[in-house]
Amino acid sequence: MKSDGLNMKRRSFLKAALATGAAVGAGMPIPRFAEAAEEVVEDAEKKVFTFCGVCSANCGMIAYVKNGRLVHIEGNPHDFVSGNPYNPEDGGRICVKGYNAVKTLYDPDRLKYPLRRTNPNKGINEDPGFERISWEEALEETASRLKESIAQHGPESHLHVTRSNDFGNRLRQVMGTPNHVCHQSTCFTTQQAAWAGMVMGSGRPWTHDLENAKYILTMGFDGMGKAKNPHLQGLSKALQRGAKLVSLDPYRSKTAARAHKWLPIRPGYDLAFALAMIHVIVTERLYNQEFVENYTEGIEELRSHVVSRGYTPEWAADLIDSPGITADAIREIAREFADPANQPAHIPSHKRDGAGPNHVNSTNLAQAQVTLDALVGSIDRPGGMTLPRNPSMPGFDALFPISEDLQEQMPEIRRERIDNWEERGPFMSFPHGNFATLPYGILNETPYPVKTALVRGYNPLSFPDHLTMVEAFKKLDFIVNCEIYPSEMSWLSDIVLPEPIWLESTGMGPRSYHSLYPQIHVRNPVVPQLHEEARGFGGIVVALAEAMGYGEYFRDTSEGGSGNISGGKFNNLRLQALGSSWNELVNSPTGLWEPEDPADREFVPREEFGTPSGKIEFYSTLFEENGFDPLPTWKPRREEPDEEYPFYMVISRAPMHKMTQTQNNVLALAGYPENSAVMNKARAEEMGISDGDEVYVEARSAGWMDRERKIKLKAKLIEGVRPDTVMIYHGFGRYSSYMTQAYGRGANEGDLVMSMSFDEQNRLNDPGMGAAMQDHAVKIYKA
């Protein structure tokens, strides 16, 4: 479809709409169904550019508003993920989670005003007994509780549990605590460490050009089933262009179901498969000689390493011991992967897959994957793993510097953290932190007691060892929670502050991945804020800082600036640094900022990389310096199943759900209402378990915290899962009764995941410091 054709359509539609209007005016019958009016959204009174806030893919959107209500959302065709800026005529598409957000906006359970807990007892079975309070009261009480606590216990006794946010980061620094804990050790720190050590030297990792790949090998990566727009669209486009897709996964994921070959690998053994592939490719010299010679270091070290360690296909096949994974099959896939006829080939990897922090060897697997991608010349090349193209803009501190006087008044920040993150060497510079060790730190007051917390957008259900984390939150004297929903975190908090949802917000978002050149999205409010009292996080931080006596740190100190810092000012200054402005972005006909010069909108492959040598380092000098394995090395799981605990556990997500964010959305629930224990049919029947039976899934009490770890789920029996594996979707087991739709459905598999003591985390010596979410065995029995 050509763009002028599309315009023609819009024009002819306009005529038709006018004709309909005339017909109605002339007293002719109006359409039979009330909903027929919604059917044609193109005549909306307002089409608003925004970008999705469900996940970090930042998909560009166009929202249709009729009679003041959001009726439909479609993808922005000029965005790299929703559409294709080189070919916008194909239209824009987002994922089901984005489309369903219409129902989140109008969810009556959303937070409407500040709340205070009246029940002094905290816990899963303790209704907080919220009462409505004013913002003044909420800020006053929060400020005084935090100030008093810091005065008594020191600044490090306060904890920020939020995603990285410029306003929040400044408040934390002004308060003087090192404890900013994010979720990434349960998400992607393993891949990030490998990319930092081997390719980038620092910073954020990978993006994939799936669409242009001809051979795609996945290792627990369910890009289709998790339905993240860039992965789902990219894999589908690649398939339509004739790419071959091979999927290693203990569970027949949606990606595996659509693949040309599915191999049900033993959970935690992808590393053995990848090492054997490296063995084949380097010993048979199948690699891309030109790329390896010009852009990599350490091929000889790599060769002698895999040979001396004996990482042969036979070794791997023996170890993996799974149907279809013979030494010959590994050899065949390695040869196919390296075959010049199949280039570009690559191994997409993103967050919680085999190389995500699911296993204790996930960083090693991530190293092996980078190695394989580099061997076939697919790093930062079309059809390969590409590095991000972020627009370069000045940061918060550069634009709003703190005066020297004020800097001197700031407390010195201790190095030791409550989550042991400082033990991660150079990789701790990423502002992340560790969910897996946080409960240990808090409950054991190691290295010191923590008393207060500001928590935003995170749910205790997503922590490893969720029940232990609940105990840790209970131990704190005071928690303030910024949220859009009365979530399980609100349930455990003292003060709850309502935020608007992203569909009501103003802002901008640089396309942080999946972009072949820099783009910035505008976020316009789609409808006026539904709940008057909700406030954006930046505004909350500034107001709280004011109430705590830190207001001076949030004055607009930019050139010619006055008053307080605001998100709007920050965004405008950042855009001005690019030669644009907020005004220009808001009025952009594509809803995007893009480089003006067409030459800057071409993909230019990198010639140099961020490592000390400037090359991709098969032998990571950065890893070696910091006492980690410089080459990809075999490492077994933390725990194997045995007679008593005979199952592996694999965690995934349903396409229409995003972690714990979507379970109150009636459309997402219509698609997937409750999680279950997905088991192999023959194996379950041997155990006397039928489809739909209630079963207990129980983990051994391992690790530092001795407790029962047991959840009750309905069994779902299928063929497409290993007989020794149970698969569970995340996001269920909700106990906040204020979430009326999500409440009481299914169970939380996070109850079965182990947290870690600092000793154990140190002993694992993982540069990714991953939470190893599915490295323990479980047993299953009828309830």
Binding site: F13, H72, R93, C95, Y99, Q240, A670, I718, G720
Partner: protein
């Protein structure tokens, strides 16, 4: 090109059952809980590592020779000017013949609204030169919409690609079934694996019935009796 020459192509080899189409449709058309105009069924065949999983995006196929239209005693279920199978609730007597006779099981009686709920291929949109929502929203772009010859050509090309990749049973479904379907399907495997009907021609009995009742078109006596019997039977079944 006349709208009657448009077709939809659903590539079931790319569908992953994400429910984007299902839920946008449900939201836009404000469908009653548990009622859908399109839904995706999952079928599993074979055992363990040799098993396959297929998805069938189910919705009205807009058969040229539509059994629901043929067996409707009042003309409520009818073909519009664009040859789409659409429904007029003003003449429907809730006899449920269409539900019972649809070979694809894609018509649902919504008791709360008292109407037959089915996909209209977004008839109001196509009348306005727009495309059906499931085409515009499908994240994996498994759905295409355009001229029927183009869709058949695209479908055949995809089938050839799948065959070359080892999916020997790949086929294009809907070119001839029930006089030709407005919705064509690319299948990786034989139609039975998607629970698609083996019999794809209008049975003689239905044609005879149509012949018998058509002279009395608009007279509801026979139909009302049928409706009573059907409702009695289905209520009985429901309470069992």
């Amino acid at each position: 090109m006349a709208i009657a020459d448009h077709a939809m192509l659903v590539d079931q080899s790319l569908c992953i059952n994400c429910d984007a189409c299902t839920m946008v449709c449900k939201q836009i058309y404000s469908l009653t809980d548990d009622i859908y105009r399109t839904q995706i069924d999952t079928y599993e065949h074979g055992t363990y590592h040799e098993s396959i999983e297929v998805f069938n995006k189910k919705a009205c196929m807009h058969c040229r020779e539509a059994l629901c239209v043929i067996t409707c005693p009042t003309g409520a279920m009818h073909k519009n000017d664009d040859d789409l199978t659409v429904f007029d609730e003003r003449t429907c007597i809730s006899c449920n013949y269409c539900v019972a006779n649809c070979p694809y099981g894609v018509i649902t009686f919504d008791r709360t609204k008292g109407i037959m709920e089915k996909c209209s291929l977004c008839d109001k949109r196509v009348e306005n030169n727009l495309e059906p929502f499931c085409y515009t929203v499908c994240s994996p772009q498994a759905i295409k919409y355009g001229s029927r010859p183009a869709m058949i050509a695209d479908g055949n090309a995809r089938v050839q690609m799948l065959k070359a990749q080892g999916f020997e049973e790949a086929n294009l479904y809907g070119v001839d079934e029930f006089g030709g379907l407005r919705v064509l399907l690319v299948l990786q495997y034989t139609p039975d694996k998607y629970n698609l009907p083996a019999e794809t021609a209008v049975p003689m009995g239905s044609r005879v019935l149509k012949y018998l009742i058509s002279p009395f078109g608009g007279i509801a006596a026979l139909a009302a009796v049928g409706a009573l019997i059907y409702n009695y039977a289905s209520n009985k079944k429901g309470s069992a």
